[in-house]
Assembly symmetry: C2
């Protein structure tokens, strides 16, 4: 594969083989809520020596580990994914297979933009393992695993407002960095995460106000108001 050949020119075949293992370990750390890691920790986990690990990481990341603090896990994951060509910005997962979730899962317009909702998640056992619009609904505890394995970075939230923040937190721990939020609630996220809030009601409110303005203008031009006296 031409891509591999290119990579061999910038990094040893052995180092290239180690990158996916680093990635897997780093993602497991992220899931457990850790945000920094030292080359020593990685070396210990993978039974390699510290120097080797630092050399491998230096081949993919410009940012060295900071003394004591170590490497930023998010940054390392991003750089290794980038190096390996894992740049998935077309696939999304959806959490909350209620009416709105089902509507989005069944909506075919996304393909026109090269975007796909690849899986859905819900807590309702009656919905889990069903198929909606060709997508399987998985239980929530499969979310991290699926997002990490498929390198998914886009998450869609269609759960009730009360559940939205916890779903958001789970998504971020699972590598989601762009969230399309339909729940009528403000989500608090770190600065690395993009949140796009979809307020359906506002669209209708806008239409209603345009209608009011249009009607008033025409009435003033054409109609005689009540009680002209």
């Amino acid at each position: 594969m031409e891509k591999d050949q290119k990579q061999y020119t910038s990094i040893s075949k052995q180092a290239l083989r180690r990158l996916p293992y680093y990635l897997n370990y780093l993602k497991r750390l992220r899931e457990s809520g850790v945000d920094k890691v030292s080359s020593t920790m990685i070396a210990k986990e993978m039974s390699l020596n510290d120097v080797q690990v630092r050399k491998d990481l230096a081949a993919v990341s410009k940012i060295g580990g900071k003394p004591r603090k170590g490497f930023d896990i998010e940054e390392l994951i991003m750089c290794i994914e980038s190096y390996l060509g894992y740049n998935n910005i077309n696939d999304a997962i959806l959490v909350g297979a209620g009416h709105l979730g089902r509507a989005l899962l069944s909506y075919t317009g996304f393909e026109d933009y090269g975007l796909r909702i690849v899986a859905a998640f819900d807590i309702d056992e009656n919905v889990v393992n069903t198929n909606i619009g060709g997508k399987i609904v998985f239980p929530m505890d499969k979310l991290s695993d699926i997002c990490n394995r498929l390198n998914i970075h886009i998450g869609i939230i269609t759960v009730p407002a009360s559940a939205a923040q916890s779903v958001c937190d789970l998504m971020v721990e699972s590598g989601i960095i762009a969230i399309w939020n339909f729940a009528p609630v403000h989500l608090s996220v770190n600065e690395n995460v993009i949140v796009h809030n979809e307020n359906i009601a506002e669209s209708l409110a806008l239409l209603s106000s345009q209608l009011a303005a249009r009607l008033n203008q025409k009435k003033n031009n054409l109609c005689i108001k009540e009680n002209p006296v």
Copy 2:
């Protein structure tokens, strides 16, 4: 009622009583696709004399009937509704009780803006007469009657693209002048009708492109690209 008293000052009680009958007749004409009417036609229909009708209409509308062409039905309806205080910009009807329609019917956020979806319509006999989110789903042939009786001016289209234009036409004939269109199709309407197209896919496409831009910027800053040689 104070309002009535006010109106009596500007129009006779008898004329005020006739207005709803004019309105009813004009709406029936609109339903049948007519857009102009002469005072003679109205007088004949209501067994009144021509002069009386012109006097009544002149009390609510600044626009007199044009010789031969007659009165613009839309304008007369708007002026009589305005005069009688029928200014409903808060209620909407929805056509298409599929996944998206059900999502909107079940959505509670509209009330925050003083807006209500008061009824839904569908062709599917399995859905007709069911209750979704507290709203009854009526058969399509009830649409004109309900919109006219409740003076509803806002319509929401959540039908497949292939059916959207015919639904749009039926809405306009029934007095809808503001349409919120979720069908991925361009609707052709006359200049009096406001159409707000909701393209769900575009929102996700925007989020995806923001994500791509963010990732590329961070990678350039932090990561060593493949094949740096």
